[in-house]
């Protein structure tokens, strides 16, 4: 079965550069979540989208933005990168429950960002 795809898997940037992370949800999933996991930290929720609209907002810095496109893939845009942005960025997708359909959140493998 198809899983959540994230690209790139690894990314190295320098301070003050920009980065774009991509997430391709499981086919027919309409909701995407982004999480950030710093070294030795637990995943922290950043932001989510449902049907191309922002659904929920967590601890996403103002330097970051994200959107969901018509094909439901999502991109996390990160500007003015800081050393502290080095982390593993997870994307997860789900089909938002209607009529009692199970709504499991499936996680991608993550993109590891290193800011030098």
């Amino acid at each position: 079965a198809a899983g959540v795809i994230q690209s790139p898997r690894h990314l190295i940037k320098e301070k003050r550069e920009t980065a774009t992370l991509k997430c391709y949800p499981i086919p027919r999933h309409d909701t995407v979540y982004w999480y950030q996991q710093g070294p030795g930290q637990d995943p922290q929720f950043l932001i989510s989208f449902y049907e191309k609209m922002q659904s929920d907002k967590g601890s996403i810095p103002d330097r970051f933005s994200a959107q969901q496109f018509s094909d439901y893939h999502s991109e996390l845009n990160m500007s003015s990168l800081e050393l502290g942005d080095s982390a593993l960025y997870f994307c997860a997708s789900t089909y938002r429950a209607t009529g009692g359909v199970r709504e499991t959140q499936y996680f991608g493998p993550g993109t590891r960002l290193l800011v030098l």
Binding site: Y33, Y35, Q37, D42, P43, F45, L46, I47, S48, Y50, S55, D56, G58, L88, F90, A92, R96, A97, R102, E103, T104, Q105, Y106, F107, G110, R112
Partner: protein, 113 residues
């Protein structure tokens, strides 16, 4: 490779009754184990984690989890369920010193009034 299994898609329990959400894991070495909860249309929220020490870990909202090394399990429990506990629960594992954080598929908990 690490893996996490949550054998139940759905758990139904009556309000006031004890609840258990099951999780088993596979990891090389000693694990860090986590439980997260997702309420409808929200992101994941941290509930509790086990790193070392007492096998019974207490977390948020009255939840606790028991680490059982011989059974490689980390079941989530609560003595008395509330309707507001209805949500998706995710078990996760990370190997100590490792880089990978793996989530289970999730279990939907429904607490019936």
């Amino acid at each position: 490779a690490q893996s996490v299994a949550q054998p139940e898609d759905q758990v139904n329990v009556a309000e006031g009754n004890p609840l258990t959400v099951k999780c088993t894991y596979s990891v090389s070495g000693n694990p860090y184990l986590f439980w997260y909860v997702q309420y409808p249309n929200r992101g994941l929220q941290f509930l509790l984690k086990y790193i070392t020490g007492d096998n019974l870990v207490k977390g948020s909202y009255g939840f606790e989890a028991e680490f059982n090394k011989s059974q490689t399990s980390f079941h989530l429990k609560k003595p008395s369920a509330l309707v507001s506990d209805s949500a998706l629960y995710f078990c996760a594992v990370r190997d100590i010193g490792g880089q990978n954080f793996v989530f289970g598929p999730g279990t939907r908990l429904s607490v019936l009034p």
